[in-house]
């Protein structure tokens, strides 16, 4: 019996035999999660760039870099998941347009280019300044990065600003498109009761904004502590507004979706009920628990008009809660959807692998990469708008020696 139950997912009831081999694993959980963080961070950055809401100005460029770094790694879970990763470009060379997935390469590629361009325009003045202030290899690198465009006249800067703004304007629907599209990949599958919902793209989009804002809050607080710089109250209040709106709406819509499913009570609804009470109950508790926590905290912060240190602490916690809650939500959707058998008469219980190509270890590595990239990029392109002086060299060979 050597091959018995090699990678069988245990089940109860009746499931189709092929279903015991899970098609989409935890890598597909973090793929929408990462793109979601991108969308959220981008929205924050554009609040200043496009709408000129000044309270977001201090973190606008940081949020932009965050979006870029996460976007760079957004396709990696997919690549690790493919059975034939070397053929990934087949979907780009010969896209089969009836497939929701065919556009991924284009959507992601377009968005990545947009982010790179916007970063360049938003940072060009600094790049030029640094190419002058730095010496040695870093000076050269900044020179290259400026692409030879070292005009810092008022007119040139105004153009930079305008272009960045236009890019950012295009970026908002693009970010929504990117993420709504991820929701569509799931929502458009008629096969799976747990996924096939018209609300799926909206839910994905809104929770993405929620988790992205959470990420920006968390990073902003941590980075400020490390840099020993004050956390600007007005910015935190602004983030609080966005956060509250995001959590409130997403909870209502998610609630509506579940309500609708139970109210319609189509065939197999008992199994859906068992799914929630069974394989994904932990995930459901985390998702709803964290969302409720974030909603209550942000409401209280608003009602009590909290400022200062208390605001920082509690908003930080609710940001973290939102990140965890949305991650749990992705798990509940992606894994939960597959744990509910297509027969609607059985449930599977997925256990992730610890090591291997498609394992929790891979997930961990992929999840760390964007943060590491962000750390490097902020060294290269400091987003905090401080004056650039020769002493504050980061990657300076002279300093290293």
């Amino acid at each position: 019996m050597e091959h018995v139950f090699e990678h069988v997912t245990p089940f109860v009831g009746y499931v189709y035999p092929n279903e015991t081999d899970f098609p989409w694993s935890q890598l597909i959980v973090i793929y929408p999660y990462i793109t979601g963080l991108v969308a959220g961070a981008f929205v924050i950055s554009s609040l200043d760039h496009v709408f000129n809401i000044k309270s977001f100005a201090p973190i606008s460029r940081f949020a932009l870099l965050t979006a870029l770094c996460f976007m760079i790694f957004a396709p990696s879970p997919l690549l690790f998941h493919l059975g034939q990763p070397t053929r990934a470009f087949n979907a780009v060379i010969t896209p089969h347009w009836t497939s929701a997935m065919a556009a991924f390469g284009y959507v992601a590629g377009f968005y990545l280019c947009l982010l790179v361009l916007e970063v360049w325009f938003a940072f060009r003045a600094d790049i030029v300044a640094m190419s002058k202030a730095r010496t040695g290899i870093m000076g050269k690198i900044y020179g290259w990065l400026s692409l030879g465009s070292d005009d810092l006249s008022e007119h040139a800067l105004a153009i930079d600003h305008k272009v960045a703004r236009i890019l950012s304007m295009i970026g908002i629907p693009a970010a929504c498109g990117l993420h709504g599209y991820v929701g569509f990949v799931f929502g458009s599958l008629k096969t799976r009761e747990w996924w096939s919902s018209d609300l799926m793209p909206v839910i994905f989009l809104l929770s993405a904004v929620g988790s992205g804002v959470g990420l920006v809050i968390v990073l902003y607080v941590i980075v400020s502590k490390f840099r020993k710089t004050p956390i600007i109250d007005e910015t935190m209040r602004g983030l609080l507004y966005v956060m509250f709106t995001g959590v409130a709406i997403v909870m209502v819509i998610e609630g509506l979706e579940i309500l609708e499913m139970f109210y319609k009570a189509r065939e197999g609804i008992e199994t859906v009920r068992e799914l929630i009470a069974g394989p994904i109950w932990v995930g459901m508790y985390i998702q709803w628990g964290m969302s409720v926590f974030a909603l209550l905290t942000t409401s209280a912060l608003l009602v009590l008009n909290v400022h200062g240190k208390r605001l920082v602490t509690w908003l930080f916690l609710s940001g973290l809660a939102m990140m965890i809650g949305v991650l749990a939500m992705r798990w509940n959707v992606v894994i939960g959807g597959q744990e509910l058998s297509k027969t609607m008469k059985g449930l599977l219980t997925f256990t992730p692998e610890l090591f291997g190509r498609e394992s929790l270890f891979t997930v961990l590595i992929i999840s760390i990469c964007p943060y590491a990239a962000l750390w490097l990029v902020t060294k290269l392109l400091p987003p905090w708008g401080e004056k650039i002086e020769p002493e504050s060299r980061a990657f300076d060979v002279h300093k290293l020696a």
């Binding site: 019996m1 091959h3 018995v4 139950f5 090699e6 990678h7 069988v8 009746y14 499931v15 189709y16 035999p17 092929n18 279903e19 015991t20 081999d21 098609p23 989409w24 997919l78 998941h81 493919l82 059975g83 034939q84 990763p85 053929r87 990934a88 087949n90 979907a91 010969t94 896209p95 089969h96 009836t98 497939s99 929701a100 997935m101 065919a102 991924f104 990949v185 599958l189 008629k190 096969t191 799976r192 597959q338 297509k342 027969t343 609607m344 008469k345």
Partner: protein, 299 residues
């Protein structure tokens, strides 16, 4: 003569067994030409020696050969045919010879989680309004048989009061509107003119979106090849005038195959002479496997 008898007659194996073996000898390069039930001994040994893994499984060299130098199909025009299958559940005895034949013919992975075809057992116990369902992949059946590669149902209802019981064979429905084709991002899986939905395993990227999209659970993923898998009605056989392996071995004539363009073909007769149903019609996939004797409990 009853309808059933007529059906059987019409379903007569088109070629004598000898000629059939001869054909196989010539077309040995076609994907997994190791046919079950017919002296697979030597071929089996070779396959095992090559892959060192699953018995019957085509080894990598054979696979590469089949992919790089696909067998020529002389005088076959896919515009001339419209293949379809019929399954008469009232005839199925759950012997699972079809499953075994399929695994060998198409070198499907030999574990219980990868199947191109399988059979479901529905049992109503006395006084119950719902059926108990299982398939060969049920751990109890495997434990009872002692191996995943021995295709047997256990005898668990021996002492129970059974009110009604029947078997339903399942396979890819080669849908008219296949959702697997709809979602494939590369076009690696496509609908052929003569009916079957095929997979170009040299182009598939292994994203498994199609596995998700099939409402019938007919697709699986071949980890060792990194590509999707499913039944293609033994395309390599039907294009040579043979029946699919499962139809070939079915001892009761539960599976019927043929060309709908030919009004006298077994499947045309099957559809004409019976009230046929399809699985999950609400999905809108318009299956091309037609069933007789389905039940409300059939999933």
């Amino acid at each position: 003569m009853t309808i059933q008898d007529k059906k059987l007659e019409a379903q007569e194996v088109p070629l004598s067994r000898r000629r059939f073996l001869g054909l196989l000898g010539k077309g040995a390069a076609c994907a997994g030409a190791i046919v079950g039930a017919v002296g697979a001994g030597n071929a089996l040994g070779a396959a095992e020696a090559g892959s060192g893994k699953h018995a019957y499984q085509q080894n990598d060299k054979q696979y590469a050969e089949a992919v790089n130098d696909p067998p020529k199909i002389p005088e076959y025009n896919w515009n001339d045919h419209q293949w379809a299958m019929g399954v008469d559940t009232t005839r199925c005895i759950g012997c699972l010879r079809c499953m075994e034949a399929c695994k060998m013919e198409n070198s499907v992975q030999m574990d219980a989680n990868h199947n191109r075809t399988w059979v479901e057992r529905y049992v109503y116990l006395e006084g119950s309004n719902t059926a108990l369902i299982d398939s060969q992949a049920d751990p109890k059946n495997i434990a009872n048989a002692g191996s995943e590669t021995k295709f047997r149902f256990d005898n668990r209802y021996k002492d129970a009061k059974v009110e009604k019981a029947f078997f339903v064979a399942k396979l890819c429905n080669q849908c008219e509107h296949p959702s697997c084709v709809e979602v494939c991002p590369t076009g690696a899986t496509f609908k052929s003119k003569d009916g079957p939905v095929l997979i170009d395993t040299t182009y598939c990227i292994g994203c498994q979106y199609c596995v998700q999209a099939c409402p019938y659970g007919a697709r699986s993923f071949n980890e060792s090849r990194g590509t999707a898998e499913k039944c293609n009605w033994c395309y390599h056989r039907i294009t040579k005038g043979l029946n699919p392996a499962c139809v070939e071995v079915c001892p009761t004539g539960s599976r019927v195959f043929g060309d709908r363009n030919d009004p006298e073909s077994p499947v045309s007769l099957f559809i004409r002479n019976n009230h046929v149903q399809v699985l999950k019609p609400e999905m809108g996939n318009a299956p091309n496997v037609f069933y007789v004797g389905l039940d409300k409990e059939v999933v």
